[in-house]
C-alpha cells in the first residue's frame, strides 16, 4: 500500500512537469499577450508597454519564460534576514502573479479550489446515493417494469449535456426564486452563525450538485446493475442460500460487498468527467470554482492562472484515482498492489 502511494506520487512529478510545459507552449502560441489589451488605450504610450513586457519577461522566448516560472514555482524559499529560524523558510508555492486579478495566483487558487472540491465530492456522493440503490433494485428485479424504466432514465441522464441541464436549472431558479443564482456564499455570509454559514453554503451548492450529480448517476447505476447480476449467479450465493441464510443477508452482506468493488475503481474514472462537468456547471451557474477561474483566465490570456488551474485539475484527478485505489484495497483485502 505504501509503495502504491509513493509510486503514484512520484509519477505525479514528471506528469506535472509535462503538463506545465505543454500549457506554457500552448499559451505562448496564442496570439497576443496580457499587455495586448492596453494597446488599444489611447493614453498609454508605446515605451510604457515595452517596459511592461520587459518587466514581465514577455519579450523572451516561451521556454525561457517557462524555466523562469519553474524556478519560482517550487514551494520553498530561504530568507536569511527573517527574525526567527522557522520564519526563514517559506513554504508558500509561488505560482506567479495574475495580470487580470492583480493578485498572487496562489491566493486565487486557495480561494477557488475548495469550492470545486466540495462541488465534486457532493455530486459524486449524490450520484452514488441515487445510483447504488437503483442499480441494486434493477438487478434484483431484472427485466421488470422498474428495471426498464430505470434503464431508460439512465440513458436519458447519460445523454443530457451538463450545460443544458445547468441552463434549465438556472431558468428554474429564476422562475421560482427558491435558489440563489450563482455564487458560493451570500453577501451577508460573514455575519451568519456557524450553522447559518453551513446552511448558506448548502443552499448555494444544492442546485449545482444536482445538475452535476445526475450525469454521474447513469454510469454508476449501469455498472452496479451489471456487477450485481454477475455476482448473483456466483456459486458462493448458492452456498449461502443452502446454508439457510435469509435472502436479505445473502444480497447485502455477500453479493453487495463483492459487487461494489469495480464501482470504486469507476469512481476514480468518474472523477475525470466530474471535473470536466464541474467546469461547465461552474461557468453556466456562476459558481466560483476553479473551472470558472480557468475559463476567465483563458479569455484574459492570464497565462499563470491557466497554468496553475490546469495543474490543480491534474493533481485532483490523480489524487482521486489514488484514493479510489486505496479505498478498493481497503474494501477487498485480496487486492494487493506491489
Amino acid at each position: 500500500m505504501k509503495t502504491l502511494i509513493a509510486k503514484r506520487l512520484l509519477i505525479l512529478i514528471p506528469m506535472l512537469l509535462a503538463v506545465s510545459l505543454m500549457v506554457s507552449l500552448l499559451m505562448s502560441l496564442a496570439p497576443g499577450d496580457p499587455v495586448t489589451q492596453f494597446e488599444m488605450m489611447p493614453d498609454v504610450d508605446e515605451d510604457y508597454l515595452q517596459r511592461l513586457r520587459e518587466d514581465f519577461g514577455l519579450d523572451k522566448p516561451w521556454y525561457v519564460q517557462y524555466f523562469h516560472w519553474l524556478g519560482q514555482v517550487v514551494p520553498f524559499s530561504y530568507d536569511p534576514q527573517a527574525a526567527s529560524f522557522f520564519q526563514r523558510f517559506d513554504f508558500t508555492p509561488n505560482f506567479g502573479f495574475s495580470y487580470h486579478y492583480r493578485t498572487e495566483v496562489w491566493d486565487l487558487i486557495v480561494q477557488r479550489l475548495p469550492a470545486t472540491i466540495l462541488l465534486s465530492l457532493t455530486s459524486l456522493l449524490l450520484a452514488w446515493l441515487i445510483a447504488i440503490p437503483l442499480g441494486v433494485l434493477a438487478a434484483i428485479y431484472k427485466d421488470s417494469v422498474f428495471d426498464r424504466i430505470s434503464q431508460m432514465l439512465a440513458y436519458a441522464a447519460l445523454s443530457i449535456p451538463e450545460f443544458f441541464l445547468a441552463l434549465l436549472a438556472l431558468v428554474f431558479a429564476a422562475w421560482t426564486g427558491w435558489f440563489p443564482i450563482g455564487g458560493f456564499t451570500s453577501t451577508e455570509y460573514d455575519f451568519l452563525s456557524p450553522w447559518g454559514k453551513f446552511l448558506d453554503i448548502a443552499h448555494h451548492l444544492l442546485l449545482p450538485t444536482i445538475v452535476l450529480g445526475i450525469g454521474g448517476v447513469a454510469g454508476i447505476m449501469r455498472i452496479m446493475r451489471a456487477n450485481f447480476l454477475d455476482n448473483i449467479r456466483a456459486e458462493y450465493v448458492t452456498t449461502a442460500r443452502a446454508k439457510g441464510l435469509s435472502e436479505g443477508v445473502v444480497m447485502f452482506r455477500h453479493v453487495f460487498r463483492n459487487a461494489i468493488n469495480p464501482l470504486i475503481t469507476a469512481a476514480g474514472f468518474a472523477f475525470s468527467s466530474i471535473l470536466s462537468g464541474a467546469l461547465l456547471v461552474e461557468i453556466v451557474m456562476n459558481y466560483p470554482g476553479i473551472g470558472q477561474l480557468v475559463y476567465d483566465a483563458l479569455l484574459q490570456q492570464d497565462a499563470f492562472v491557466v497554468q496553475a488551474a490546469v495543474l490543480m485539475s491534474v493533481i485532483m484527478l490523480m489524487l482521486g484515482n489514488l484514493l479510489a485505489d486505496v479505498a478498493l484495497s481497503m474494501n477487498d483485502p485480496r487486492i494487493r498492489y506491489d
Binding site: M15, A18, V19, M22, V23, L25, L26, M27, L29, A30, P31, Y155, A156, L158, S159, I160, P161, F163, F164, L167, L168, L170, V171, A174, W175, G219, R222, I223, A226, S272, S273, L275, S276, G277, L279, L280, I283, V284, G291, V294, Y295, L298, Q301, V306, A309, V310, S313, V314, M316, L317, M318
Partner: protein, 352 residues
Amino acid sequence: MTDGIFRQLLRRPAGLTVLVVLGLFYLIAVFADFLAPYSVTDQDLRSTFHPPTALFIEDGRLHVQRYEMHDGENDNAGYRKVPGEGSPISFFAEGRDYRLLGLVPMNRHLFVVEGPDRLYLMGSDQVGRDIYSRLLHGTRISLSIGLIGIAISMCIGFIVGGLAGYFGGVLDNTAMRVTEFLMAIPGLYLLLALRGAFAEDFTPTQMFFLIVFILSFIGWSGTARIIRGMTLSLRNRQFVLAAEVMGQSSWKILWIHVLPNVFSYLIVAATISIPGYILGEAALSFLGLGIQDPSVSWGLMLSQAQNPQVFMEGYWWFLVPGLAIFVTVISFNVLGDVLRDIVDPKQKFLRT
C-alpha cells in the same frame, strides 16, 4: 463481417428505432436549405423574441397569423394577434437561392410565406432570426463533427495502438506514456488549454476544422489503448506468426491480419465515442470558443439563450437546441450499446 452486424442491428427494435431517428436527422442536415424557410442570418429587428406563430386556414389555404406589438405589463413589449389577418403559405414555392449539397443551385423550398408576415415555427431569437431555420442548419455542424472527428481519431488510434502493440519495446512505452499524459488532464481543461493556443478570428470553415482537430487530438488515446491490447493478443496467434515467417511486411500484416480482427471493435468504439464529440463541440460553442456567428450550431444557439429575458419570461422554445442535442446523443448512445451487445456480448473489451 460488417454486413452481418448491420443485419443484426436491423433485427433489434432499439437498433432499428435509433437508426431511423439518426437517418432522419442526417436527411434534415442534407436538405436543411430546402426545409428551412429562412437562412441562418435572416434577421428582423421588429420581431425579436417572437413567440411561435399561429396558423389558420382561410379560402382553403394555410395562413400565417399576423401579430402586432403592444405594451404589456411591466413595460415588456409583447405580441398580440391581429384577428383575421395574415399571409398565405405556399408549398414547394420559389424562395431565396441556395445550393443543394453545396453544388446544385436551387430556389425551391418546402414552404414560403407570401406576404409581409414571418413564420416562426419555434419563435425568434433576440435579433428576430427564425429558431426553426437555425435549428435545421445547426444540424449540419453538430452531426458532421462527430463523424469526421471520430474518423480521424480512429485512424490515429489504430495506427498508434497497432504499431505499439505489434512492435512493443520503446515505441510501445512512448505511445502509452503519451496516452497516459493525455488522459491525466480532465478532458475539458485540456480542450480549453488547446483552444487557448489559437486565435479568435477564424472563418467558419477554419473554425470547424480547428474544433475537429482539437477534439480528435484528445480523443484518440482511449482507442489506441484498446487497439494496443487487442494487437498484443493477436500478435502471437498462429496466422500472424505464419505471415511473419513468410516474410510479409509489418505494414501489410497490420493492414491484412490485424485490422480485420479489430474492425468490429473499432466500429463499436467509434459509435460509443461519437456523443463525446457532439457534446465537445456543443460545449466549446456554448462557451463562445467554438462555432460563431454567422455560422450556427446547437451549442451556439444555447449560448445565445443565456439571456435574462429568456430566463425571466420563459421563452422555452429557446431551449429547443438542447433537446436536439439530447435526442442525437441518446440515439448514438443506444446505437453504441446495441452494437456492443452484438459484437462483444460478454463485454470483454468495451465496458461503459
